[in-house]
Structure formats: C-alpha cells, structure tokens
C-alpha cells in the first residue's frame, strides 16, 4: 500500500516537472509587426556643408507607427548601412531619441496612416559624407496583454541621400613605377608598391631612383668621388642598426646614403628594455609616461599598452581593473553576467547585491532610479518595456524579480 502511494506521488512530481519543461516548447505568439506596415521616405537630403540630414517620412501603411531605426552608410560599395544615426536627431525640431531608435512623438503608436513628418539630424564630421540611409519602422505591439517594442523589418526602406565618398582608386602599377624597375615606391593612394621585375642582375644594385645600377668604378674605394653621396669602402651596403630613439645612416652599395629609423617611445611597440610600456603616445598621467615608463601605482600590459591603476581607496574607479582590490564584487572589465572576485571575472551576481537598486547600479549601464521590482511593472512604463526585451539585464536571483532599464 505504501509503495503504491509512493509510486503515485513520484509519478505526480515527475509529471509536474516534465510539464514545466515541455511548457517552454509550446509555441507562443511571436513579436512581429502586422502585414501592411509601410513607411515611405518622401524626401531625404544630406547637406555636407552644414552636416545636416533632413528626412520627410510618410506613413504609407494601414497601421499607426511609433518610430523608426535609422542607419546610414557613406559608400556605395558598402552593402549594409551600419552607422546608427538616431543619436544625432535634433530633438528640438521634432521627434525624440528612444534607445537606439527615434520616436515620432512619445512612447505610443502616434504616427497615423497618411501622416507626414520631417526630422533633422546633425551629423558629426566623423561620419563624413552620407551616401544612403535605411529606415526600419517600429511600433508597440500587444503580445499576451503586454506592450512590446517591435522592429518592423519587413517594411524597411532605403534611400540614397548624397554622393558616395570618393574612394582612392589605385593607379596602374605601370604609372606608379614609371621609369622604375626595382625597389618600393608609394602609389597615388599612399600604398607601397614593389616595381617589377625587381630583379637586378648580379653586380648591380637597386638605386634610390628605382633603377638597377652598377656602382661607379670609384664606389668602394673609400673616397667620396663625383656622383657619390658616400663611400665607406668595403662597408658599403652593410646596413646599420639604429639604436633606440634614434636613426642611423649607412652607405649603400651604390654609394648612396640611406637613413633607418629605430624604435622609439610612442610608436606603440613595446621595446623592452628600456620601455616598460608603450601606449602609442607620449602623454603623461595616463599610466605610461612620456618616456615610456610605468607611472607610479599603475599597471600596464600589452602593446600598445593598456594601463590601469589601483588606488586602494575602496572606490572602484573606471581606470581600475578587475584585479584591483577596490573592484572586488564590481564589474570593471567583466562582461554582463560576471563580476570581479579574487581579481578575476566570475559568473553570477555578487553577495553584496541584495536588492534591485543594488543590482542595477552594479550592472553599471543602467541608472539606479529606473529599476523595476517585477516584470509586469516594467511593462507599464514607456522605456522599461525595452528592459523586458533584454532579460540579460533582469535577474530572478533576487526577490522580488528585478528588471533594469537602459539609461
């Protein structure tokens, strides 16, 4: 009798577990925009003088829209636009930045069919010339009673807005090497080219002017004669080795002077000794001094060197790495989902994180004031619904559930 009861109990428990497991495989409604979403780029122009992009969008579909993702590219050769332009929106002239997208007004589907709106983007000079833009409309979708932010990739549209950046087309090698039969020379794009056939006969050498020359009869006699820049006798053609931080000059086999540059502080290459670090510059107070010595308290590794300092003030500064004791149980240098423990990154959340605010601050990429205590609460607020899209920034390890919002 007892056995039967036990068997039944076990069967019920196992059934419950299997149910929980299989439940995750039950297909749910996918987050996607309805058919009939469409946006039309009515006008798009890029003024390179003012670095301003102006676009006029028209809702050409049957559904209201919330906003759009906007990406650009600055070359016709490039297939995929990867420059995120949303951050350059001039919000004073309409629209609002929402994460890495632009909203038409506020966080709802406000852009109705047949509406038209113009938006202005102040493009920084670092982006250079814009060739085309791509728009992906977005809208808030109701999924299982929750409002979710959806990308309508089925309605993406592209438009050319300017001339492609003129890329350097390498001239023909015969033009670059005109008059040269050996040696290296830079072409019109600044790229080094070896001039063919680059095969000087025995007894001849490649001169600075790229020709195979026979040394002057007097070259090698140790006397600088007419037509010679130098003459070191038997030492002609023996390259010198430049010392650290200096250059050296030697005499070629054709009695021409050749200058070689040695390693130096700031070239980004660690030359040890005498360098302890080389971060590619000669600035002080960045961990690696102008003489390429590690500054007091700092630690530098790699080349070009990356430097950090442990100041032991119990505050984990940005310049401190995971190996600093100040950063124990912090995230410095660790990816999402990991924290510093014993000087290395380990998975999980630290013991010091006991509530939602702690967790969001600990993540470091969220503002502490936007934490939400449970998923349902997240979804009630405009931006917090984004948080729900990224469960990597939510944790069920805390009670109650904690979900953080991007800054």
């Amino acid at each position: 009798m007892v056995s039967y009861v036990l068997l039944v109990v076990f069967a019920i428990i196992i059934s419950g577990i299997v149910y929980q497991w299989l439940k995750t495989y039950v297909p749910k409604q996918a987050l996607e925009c309805p058919e009939g979403v469409s946006v039309f780029i009515k006008e798009a122009s890029f003024d390179p003088d003012n670095s301003q992009l102006i676009i006029t969008l028209k809702n050409n579909g049957r559904f209201n829209l919330a906003g759009y993702f906007i990406h650009g590219k600055n070359s016709s050769e490039q297939k995929l636009p990867t420059i995120d332009l949303s951050g350059y929106l001039n919000e004073t002239q309409g629209g609002m930045i929402f994460g890495n997208s632009v909203l038409f007004e506020e966080a709802n589907n406000s852009f109705s069919p047949d509406s038209e709106e113009s938006y202005f983007f102040d493009i920084p000079s670092s982006v250079r010339q814009l060739y085309s833009i791509r728009i992906i409309p977005t809208r808030f979708q109701e999924i299982e009673g929750k409002s979710r932010f959806a990308s309508c990739s089925n309605a993406l549209t592209e438009q050319i807005v300017g001339e492609p950046e003129i890329e350097c087309i390498s001239e023909d090698i015969s033009v670059t090497c005109e008059g040269r039969v050996c040696g290296e020379v830079n072409n019109n794009c600044g790229d080094p080219v070896t001039c063919p056939p680059n095969d000087c006969p025995i007894g001849q050498y490649c001169s600075i002017s790229g020709t195979c020359d026979t040394p002057l009869p007097s070259c090698g006699d140790g006397i600088i004669n007419s037509g010679e820049q130098c003459d070191n006798g038997a030492q002609n053609g023996v390259a010198c080795t430049p010392a650290y931080g200096s250059s050296c000059i030697y005499c070629s086999a054709l009695c021409e002077t050749i200058t070689l540059q040695g390693p130096y502080c700031g070239d980004g290459i660690l030359t040890s000794p005498p360098e302890q670090c080389d971060d590619g510059d000669t600035d002080n107070l960045d961990g690696c001094s102008s003489t390429c010595l590690v500054e007091g308290g700092w630690t530098c590794t790699g080349q070009p060197s990356t430097c950090w300092i442990c100041d032991f003030d119990n505050i984990c500064d940005e310049s401190e790495s995971c190996s600093c004791s100040d950063c124990e149980e912090k995230k410095n240098g660790c990816v999402v989902g990991q924290y510093c423990s014993g000087g290395v990154c380990v998975s999980g959340i630290p013991n010091s994180v006991t509530d939602c605010s702690d967790y969001c601050v600990y993540l470091g990429i969220y503002s502490g004031g936007t934490c939400r205590q449970n998923e349902a609460q997240c979804l009630k607020y405009n931006q917090v619904s984004i948080g729900n899209m990224y469960p990597e920034y939510c944790t069920t390890s805390l009670t109650p559930f904690c979900c953080c919002t991007p800054i």
Binding site: I17, P81, N100, T138, L156, G337, Y390, P391
Partner: protein, 158 residues
C-alpha cells in the same frame, strides 16, 4: 514417525514490504533526479519561451566587404554574441566575435543594433565564414548563453 516440517524458508512479509518500499524510493529518487537535471537545462527567454524556439525569430543582415564585417540586427531578438566559423583548406575553427573584435558591444546587438569591425587579418586565408547567433537566456541557475543551431547562421563569401 516425526513429521518433517517444510524446510523452505522465505523472507518475512514485513521485511519483504520494507525492501519493496526501499526499492521504490531509490528508483523513484533516481528518476526524480534524472528528470530534474533534464528540466534544469531548459533555457528560456521572453517569459518562459524555450530559447531554441526564440532562435527562429532571430533576424539579422550581414556583409563582408573590404575587410570589414558588418552585422545589423533587424529583428526583435537581441543578439548577445556571434560565433564565427572560419573555414579554410577543408577544416574550420569557431571563434567568439568578442575575441575577434573589440568593437562588438558589451551588451550585444539590441533591436536595431549594428556592428562594423575590421577583421581582415582574422579572415585572411579563409574561404568561407559562417555567423551563428548567440543569445542570452535564463534558466533556474541564472543567465545562460545559448548558441543557436547552425541552421540559423549566415554564410559569407570572403
């Protein structure tokens, strides 16, 4: 004449019952632990949806041009990372894009997110490159990284 008693002896009913119960408990525990281990492996995303199903909804564009790898997440699933399978001379190696490029965002590619990185040296000699999305899900043991199956990847001609 003395009657010979039945010499066959058995386990008493009480001991038999105890043994039976013990066996049921042991076997039940083994099955319970087995199933519990099975269910712990279920990684979910978006409120209890198995992450294997979520891979179906991943939608991204990719391109490799002039040494630059470009990826654009146009779908609704955040892409936490990418496995890069580089094939050359009949063999392949799989690398994490985070180790290949410092430009890959720490939080991955959110909705509408893009990536562009110069990988000319990493792809030198490669004949084909496959990009396989990596998602971040959650399980009973916390956040877990899940690599989607190869069928959800995209091939690039290098």
């Amino acid at each position: 004449m003395r009657k010979i008693a039945n010499q066959k002896r058995g386990v008493s009913p009480v001991i038999a019952t105890v043994l039976l119960v013990a066996m049921v408990v042991v076997i039940g525990l083994i099955i319970f632990l087995w199933f519990r281990g099975l269910t712990e492996e279920a990684v979910t995303k978006f409120g209890g949806r198995n992450i294997k199903l979520v891979c179906d909804d991943v939608d991204f564009l990719s391109d490799y041009y002039a040494g630059t790898l470009s990826i654009s997440n146009i779908g609704n699933v955040p892409i936490f990372g990418m496995k890069v399978r580089i094939s050359a001379q009949g063999s392949y190696e799989t690398l994490d894009i985070r180790n290949l490029s410092v430009d890959w965002p720490e939080i991955g590619l959110r909705q509408g997110g893009t990536f562009s990185g110069n990988l000319v040296s990493e792809f030198s000699g490669a004949e084909q490159v496959s990009l396989i999305p990596v998602l971040m899900g959650s399980s009973s043991s916390g956040n877990q990284i899940y690599v989607c199956e190869d069928t959800y990847g995209q091939d690039l001609i290098v």
